[in-house]
């Protein structure tokens, strides 16, 4: 907690960050309240429409997304996250030697089984 207070002092390296945050919060909050306060308020039908000017929307904006999309998204989520393990491994690759190579081989091999399974089961078909 004392660290948090210390960063409020000018000499602290976090001082500019604190100032930036204060300015950002102050400005954005100020604009919101200012426009509420000084702006004229006249509500009518046009004002309530989705787009005040331009063409009327043809359908609602909540479009149904194909389930296929979710399937690909889920697979992406899983395989994408596994790469987090590849980064530290790649940085230390030279010092890990053969052990690191074999270990990552096992890891990627298991992921590969998952990929082959998803592929063969047709999870990647986009029909």
């Amino acid at each position: 907690m004392s660290g948090l207070l210390a960063s409020l002092q000018f000499s602290s390296p976090y001082f500019p960050v604190i100032v930036l945050m204060a300015v950002a919060v102050g400005l954005s909050a100020g604009f919101v309240f200012l426009s509420q306060w000084v702006g004229p308020k006249r509500y009518d039908r046009t004002k309530y429409s989705e787009y005040e000017c331009g063409v009327d929307p043809l359908t609602t904006s909540t479009v149904r997304i194909s389930v296929k999309f979710f399937l690909v998204a889920i697979l992406f989520l899983l395989f994408d996250l596994e790469t987090t393990f590849l980064y530290p491994w790649a940085v230390l690759y030279r010092s890990l030697g053969l052990f690191g190579f074999v270990e990552m081989g096992v890891f990627v091999g298991i992921l590969l089984v998952g990929l082959v399974y998803a592929w063969k089961k047709g999870a990647l078909e986009w029909q």
């Binding site: 230390l92 030279r94 010092s95 890990l96 089984v113 399974y117």
Partner: protein, 491 residues
């Protein structure tokens, strides 16, 4: 860059120590690959493959023996207690997979992923039971839970299955957040997540009064309480148990509970003695609440699956009595009861799976009316398992409860033991209700014909029944094994 020195001997020892886990995971991968290659009519081979894999894992665990082997710089240990729980979990998985031979044909779970998920979940349980680092325990817990969420929702066209899975998933994910935050706070206070190191630090009372550490251990306890369904963290249990495919329900009751109690026992026996005055009160209240609420809710049920779900909550309460007692006697009683409960539970679910013709409404108790005399073997088996669950001699359930409550009395928790006995008396009412209905109620016209069991299914039922009777009549060797296992942990 300088090469990092690799201790090949330690690595090999580590891999040796997780041999059963590796066998199970390897089988799961093989099943997935075989699923892609086998034609539709050959899918039952997958089940045979899984059974063979689990059998091989049991052999490898026996080959490792009860000696202590530490692996991966103390993240995981194969010791006597690890062996006991490994064997319990693998036995439950083996019986489940044997029953799957029949169940999969009836309910359309003859799929590669069904078996692979069961095997992967089993591997998570093994890691959880043998983990000596809180992080290993957490990873085991998640490896156990995530496949179970999928298995509960496996009947994805059945609303109840999906609803049970969703509720279980949401509360499970929520509780694993608490579990993890508990680990983080303990790590912040102690600077380590190794359970034995934390335990030794507790002994010189450095952590004793640290509020961060106490908050951490409290949150960890909440996470465990969700997983083993202690009141008031039990809300998901009846829904998940009722919605899940019955085979999965049986597996959850037997194996998931064993794994969660294994890890809880390791944490409690090692670290709690130092803070016992503070913690025993909490455990006392949890045990009393869990037994009472579980049993009284079970009284009101008309669906067998839901009744057994509440009964499983009550049984978690009984086991917690042993944990509250602590020490060698308490630990021994917990180990023995977890083993016994696995067999009783699997057996009971196995029989009702045969009698009920369909998921959802097939499990009403009325559906069991009159089958006792018409199908004497099924009636007799179900009666045996229910009598054992109620804790009536000469079954294993009686011996298990005797040791649990005996340990409580010896540690001075007489009130808790009395409460446990009273609860058992209440439970007799709802366990005997299906038995009465099977033998006394007139069979309605067009009584459903139970499914003809496969030979593996019959074998699994007979094995469970034999275990319940044997452990009831001559429990000495199993009890001695349990005692040695606890001693190996406390040494």
């Amino acid at each position: 860059m300088t090469p990092i020195a690799m201790d090949t001997g330690a690595l090999v020892r580590g891999l040796y120590c997780i041999l059963p886990e590796m066998v199970v995971i390897g089988t799961a991968i093989l099943v997935l690959l075989a699923d892609l290659l086998l034609p539709e009519e050959g899918k039952k081979r997958l089940c045979h493959l899984s059974v063979a894999g689990v059998a091989a894992a049991i052999l490898s665990a026996l080959w490792l023996g009860p000696g202590k082997i530490e692996g991966f710089s103390g993240m995981i240990v194969h010791d006597g207690m690890g062996l006991f729980f490994t064997l319990t979990i693998l036995a439950a998985a083996l019986l489940t997979l044997m029953m799957a031979t029949g169940y999969s044909e009836w309910e359309g779970t003859q799929k590669g992923e069904f078996y692979a998920l069961i095997l992967l979940s089993t591997s998570g349980m093994l890691f959880m039971a043998e983990g000596t680092d809180l992080m290993t325990v957490f990873l085991g817990l998640e490896t156990l839970s995530i496949p179970i969420y999928c298995l509960v929702g496996f009947h994805r066209g059945r609303m109840r299955s999906l609803e049970g899975a969703m509720k279980y998933f949401l509360l499970g994910a929520f509780s694993s957040g608490f579990f993890l935050y508990g680990i983080a706070l303990m790590y912040a206070a102690a600077g380590t997540t190794r359970i034995p190191v934390i335990a030794s630090m507790m002994r010189d009372a450095r952590l004793y009064g640290n509020p961060v550490f106490l908050a951490g251990i409290g949150l960890l306890l909440v996470g465990f309480a969700f997983k083993v369904s202690l009141v008031p963290f039990h809300m998901w249990t009846p829904d998940a148990y009722e919605g899940a495919p019955t085979l999965v329900t049986a597996f959850m009751g037997a194996a998931v509970k064993a794994a969660a109690f294994a890890a809880l026992l390791r944490v409690v026996l090692l670290t709690f003695p130092a803070i016992l005055p503070a913690m025993s009160g909490v455990l006392w209240v949890l045990a009393a609440l869990t037994m009472t609420v579980g049993n009284f809710s079970a009284l009101l049920q008309n669906n067998m699956k839901r009744m057994l779900a509440y009964s499983s909550i009550a049984h978690a309460g009984y086991i917690l009595v042993g944990l509250t007692a602590g020490g060698v006697a308490g630990g021994q009683a917990v180990l023995f009861y977890v083993l016994v409960y696995a067999f009783m539970n699997l057996g009971a679910f196995g029989v009702i799976m045969l009698v009920a013709q369909r998921e959802d409404d097939g499990y009403d108790i009325d559906n069991f009316a009159g089958i006792g005399f018409r199908y004497p073997v099924l009636g007799g088996l179900l009666s045996l398992f229910l009598v054992s669950l109620a804790g009536i001699p000469p079954t294993a359930g009686f011996v298990g409860k005797f040791y649990l409550f005996g340990a409580a009395v010896r540690s001075g928790y007489v009130g808790l033991a009395v409460l446990g006995v009273l609860n058992s008396a209440v439970s007799v009412y709802y366990y005997l209700r299906p038995v009465v209905s099977m033998y006394m109620a007139p069979a309605p016209e067009g009584i459903p014909v139970p499914r003809p069991p496969r030979s593996a299914f019959s074998f699994a039922l007979c094995a469970s029944a034999a275990a319940v009777l044997l452990l009831g009549v001559m429990p000495a060797s199993a009890l001695e094994f349990a005692e040695r296992s606890v001693l190996s942990l406390l040494m």
